[in-house]
């Protein structure tokens, strides 16, 4: 097999063509290096395309009181102070430049009256902060990046005669392994989905930008691509995953009809004034405002409604609490028997906005409900419930360079990287995360390559990687990948879901181990020609590693915080806030160790009211007043 494989040589391989991967590729190319972009779907279809609501950046176009410090505070609060402060700081500081840069590259955001980029409200953001294009912001972002890459290719074409000489997209190629030589990254190996043909990329630096893990769960807003490939590739290459217990269940996914269960209903519906009610007609969110947020959220309808007109003198409606709070509230309402027959609650925007405005501001939501559920959201409420949406945990990286801790030549950015969002991500913070850290990863990788040079791949490594790809065809009459995937989804949904307990997590860990054993014996029907059954074998292996990391980290964390809720440890605990869980892989199983969370330096500590910090930190931390 090894003599027929397709071989390529680049300075940098970027795995993933979502916002993070494309931004990294642009940066690396602009630094003068050659870049391969590899992705599982067609170019322009990555998950990022589905992002709806917007990209958070404190440009202050709508409320000029906004600035990076306010954004930083909101991000830390949203993450319950488990965020890596440096990532949150870089993100808040650089997000506006990254949005403006998109505009220079041709993006057309919605405008304010003064002709600036318009910004909308979103959960957890103090001021209107999300740059958007109706409710198709992700499409705008990805198309702009895609067209930027085309622009770079055209430039190369004019200069060298070959537009794809120095930056090329390898679409519908799955990477199955990151190759290392002498302890450092040397390339990546994979196969073409079209025909199973194997592809080798030799490159001294690899940027992982593979997005999320949603497909590990039964109900999710993620597409088939969200199988945690990058998380698993990184683990297998010797990198660490941080905070894998934290998963965001978005409060509003569609619950009906069954076939669309989990598909996202953008938070902009609430940002634009949508309210949540139970079957008793009660606007229940007022009952669920946690103490830490009491001074920021209205506790009565009159004030909540006034906020839409006067934001300076009223507190925000509780529908706009951070996602973890809203998801848990909906979960509780449904459990208490106040949910709809399909296990959801009502979300209604028809009473606040005219049909015309709804269709203009939420066009794809209107479309989605009308076409898929037969519901006209300008007249009737939507039925919604929580859906697995985003993984806060991910590859442990150096914030400034996006270099993966522990593996030279490996970088990670976007949803696959951990730390930035702490225990819970605010809506809109992902899209700017992709741009800020995508750019930093591209830069980090370029600098690394310039100082380290080549690192050729050995034939032995290639043969090993090739053997793994051939394996599923060798065994006959074994397990079916589709059924194993379904079983895994049942386990994660039932035992590692929104509300967790120690006993169930323990059970989950055992069941996942069993599934892993069985997965060694998968066989596939058909041949290598565009064969989804064959593709799933590799995806499944990744999901199993992700599920194991999540269940094990979750078992150890004996508190409830953000996207991790333990029924047996309901409160937030300041001592636990000082702990990150680091997952690593020893070739057989995932191991978790506790690691101290980097402490807030004084200048960032001082951005907060100390009484607020007291809700999160231990008295000793408060007394210290920051780390330097």
């Amino acid at each position: 097999m090894t003599n027929t494989i397709e071989r390529h040589k680049y300075d940098i391989v970027v795995i993933g063509a979502g916002g993070a991967g494309l931004r990294a590729a642009v940066e690396a190319r602009e630094a003068g290096l050659s870049v391969a972009i590899v992705c599982k779907s067609l170019f322009g279809k990555a998950h990022t395309v589905m992002a709806e609501g917007g990209a958070a950046a404190s440009m202050g176009n709508v409320n000029e009181k906004d600035n990076w410090m306010v954004h930083f505070r909101d991000t830390m609060r949203g993450g319950k102070f488990l965020n890596h402060y440096r990532m949150a700081e870089l993100h808040a500081k650089e997000a506006p430049d990254r949005i403006w840069e998109l505009e220079v590259w041709g993006a057309l955001f919605d405008r304010t009256k003064e002709g600036k980029i318009s910004q909308r409200n979103f959960g957890g953001h103090e001021y209107p902060r999300l740059a958007h294009v109706g409710d198709r912001t992700g499409l705008e972002l990805i198309r702009t990046m895609q067209q930027r890459i085309v622009a770079l290719q055209q430039k190369d074409g004019r200069e060298t005669g070959d537009p794809e000489k120095n930056i090329k997209v390898f679409a519908e190629v799955t990477i199955t392994e990151i190759l290392k030589e002498n302890g450092k990254v040397a390339g990546a190996y994979g196969y073409r989905r079209e025909n199973g043909a194997e592809v080798l990329f030799e490159a001294p630096a690899v940027v992982i930008a593979t997005g999320g893990v949603g497909k590990t769960f039964k109900i999710t807003s993620n597409s088939w691509e969200g199988t945690g490939d990058g998380h698993a590739l990184a683990l297998k290459a010797g990198a660490n995953l941080v905070d894998m217990e934290f998963l965001q269940f978005h409060p509003t996914g569609m619950v009906w009809p069954l076939s669309v269960k989990g598909i996202l209903v953008t938070e902009s519906v609430r940002g634009e004034g949508g309210i949540l009610t139970n079957t008793l007609g009660e606007r229940f969110m007022f009952k669920y405002i946690p103490d830490v947020f009491k001074d920021k959220y209205a506790d009565n309808e009159a004030e909540a409604d006034r906020w839409y007109i006067d934001q300076d003198n009223n507190r925000r409606p509780p529908e706009l609490l951070p996602r973890d709070e809203v998801a848990r509230a909906i979960n509780s309402e449904v459990k208490a028997g106040r949910g709809t027959e399909h296990g959801g609650v009502f979300l209604d925007v028809s009473k606040r906005l005219s049909a015309e405005v709804i269709k203009k501001r939420l066009p794809s939501m209107w479309h989605q409900f009308y076409e898929l559920a037969g519901v006209d959201i300008t007249k009737e409420p939507m039925e919604v419930g929580p859906t697995c949406h985003y993984v806060m945990g991910g590859v442990e990286v150096d914030p400034d360079s996006a270099a993966a801790v522990g593996v030279d030549g490996l970088f990670a950015a976007g949803e696959v990287a951990g730390g930035m969002h702490g225990s819970n991500r605010l809506g809109g913070n992902s899209l700017t995360d992709l741009l800020v850290f995508g750019r930093r990863a591209g830069k980090g990788a370029a600098e690394y390559v310039k100082s380290h040079g080549e690192n050729p791949v050995s034939e032995a490594s290639i043969a090993k990687a090739a053997a793994k790809i051939a394996l599923p065809f060798v065994s006959q009459g074994g397990e079916n990948a589709y059924s194993l995937h379904q079983e895994l989804q049942e386990v994660t949904h039932n035992l590692v879901g929104i509300i967790r307990t120690g006993v169930e997590l323990q059970e989950a860990i055992e069941k996942i181990a069993e599934l892993r054993k069985r997965s060694a014996n998968i066989s596939v029907t058909g041949d290598r020609q565009f064969n989804p059954g064959f593709h799933l074998v590799f995806d499944l292996d990744n999901m199993l590693l992700v599920a194991e990391s999540t269940a094990k980290s979750a078992l150890l964390r004996e508190e409830s915080r953000g996207g991790h809720t333990r029924d047996d440890f309901p409160g937030m605990n300041s001592t636990w806030r000082q702990v990150n869980h680091i997952a690593s892989f020893d070739g057989e199983k995932v191991n978790i160790k506790a690691q101290p969370l980097p402490a807030l330096p004084k200048e960032l500590f001082d951005l907060f009211d100390v009484h607020e910090l007291e809700k999160y930190m231990t008295p000793e931390e408060i007394a210290k007043g920051g780390s330097n």
Binding site: S41, L42, G44, K45, H47, V49, M50, M59, P96, D97, W100, E103, V104, W105, G106, L108, F109, D110, R111, G115, K116, S118, V133, G134, R136, L139, Q147, R148, V150, A151, Q153, Q154, G157, P163, E194, S223, W224, E225, P257, L258, S259, V260, I263, L264, S364, Q368, E371, L372, A373, N480, Y482, V524, T525, G526, D527, Q529, F530, N531, P532, F534
Partner: protein
């Protein structure tokens, strides 16, 4: 609620293939893509199909359903009578790779041929000021999810392989129109290049592209026709032509 559905799915590769009969259970509210997935999980583990978002946002699941170019994830089963056999075939204008998956690289080649957006050289980040009404025209075209259904349906290439060389297709006419109407793009010859380099003249305004566009972009009325009209203007009106040269030289938008 549940019903038994009879399908004919095209299976095969670039070499050969044909329709295969399949019987499968369907639940109410399901779309064609759900059914294909059920067939895949229970009967044909290696049935090839592209999809991503399952919500009409990514443009991956394009195929022909009873001969009509459609997104499988946005096509409700309930739209077809109980006893109807639903025939599912790959896009016809592009070469088959396997089953319902076609080689759409033609479109990416064409994308590479459309000269990129060119901002004013002195545009500093954050300084752009544009009114909503001025961006809206281009925004309509930027809604495009690149499903390529319009490309697939346009008779200029659907029935004439030989035209592919010189014809960019409706997807790229809206890209050119988008740039033409973009308040900040500095290349002033988008219409002419649509005509000269991208085959706008071969379009005879049948509007089939507009009819299949799942984003309801008014490809013909809002992009093709205005460009065609103004190409004529610009071509034959020497004063306008002179004007555009002067403005370009002066760097005035």
């Amino acid at each position: 609620m549940a019903r038994t559905l009879k399908l004919r799915i095209w299976r095969g590769t670039d070499k050969d293939g044909g329709l295969q009969d399949v019987t499968v259970e369907a639940n109410s509210g399901e779309v064609v893509l759900d059914i294909i997935h059920r067939v895949q999980a229970t009967q044909m583990g290696d049935l090839a199909v592209r999809w991503n978002c399952k919500a009409g946002k990514c443009g991956s699941c394009s195929m022909e359903i009873n001969g009509k170019p459609r997104l499988a994830c946005m096509t409700q089963i309930s739209a077809y009578p109980e006893d109807e056999v639903i025939t599912i075939t790959p896009l016809r204008a592009f070469p088959v790779i396997k089953d319902l998956v076609t080689d759409v690289s033609f479109n990416y080649k064409k994308a590479l041929e459309v000269r990129a957006y060119e901002p004013p050289s002195d545009l500093a980040p954050g300084e752009a000021r544009m009114q909503q009404v001025d961006v809206e025209r281009s925004q309509e075209f930027r809604k495009c999810i690149e499903c390529f259904l319009c490309q697939n349906t346009c008779h200029v290439i659907r029935d004439h392989e030989e035209n592919k060389k010189s014809f960019a297709g409706p997807r790229f006419f809206i890209r050119l129109a988008e740039l033409d109407m973009h308040p900040l793009d500095t290349l002033r010859n988008r219409k002419q290049s649509a005509q000269k380099e991208h085959g706008l003249g071969m379009c005879n305004i049948t509007k089939c592209c507009t009819e299949v566009c799942p984003e309801h972009i008014r490809i013909t009325d809002n992009a093709i026709i205005p460009m065609k009209e103004r190409v004529v203007d610009v071509k034959y009106d020497p004063l306008r032509w002179l004007g555009s040269v002067i403005r370009k030289r002066d760097g005035i938008l």
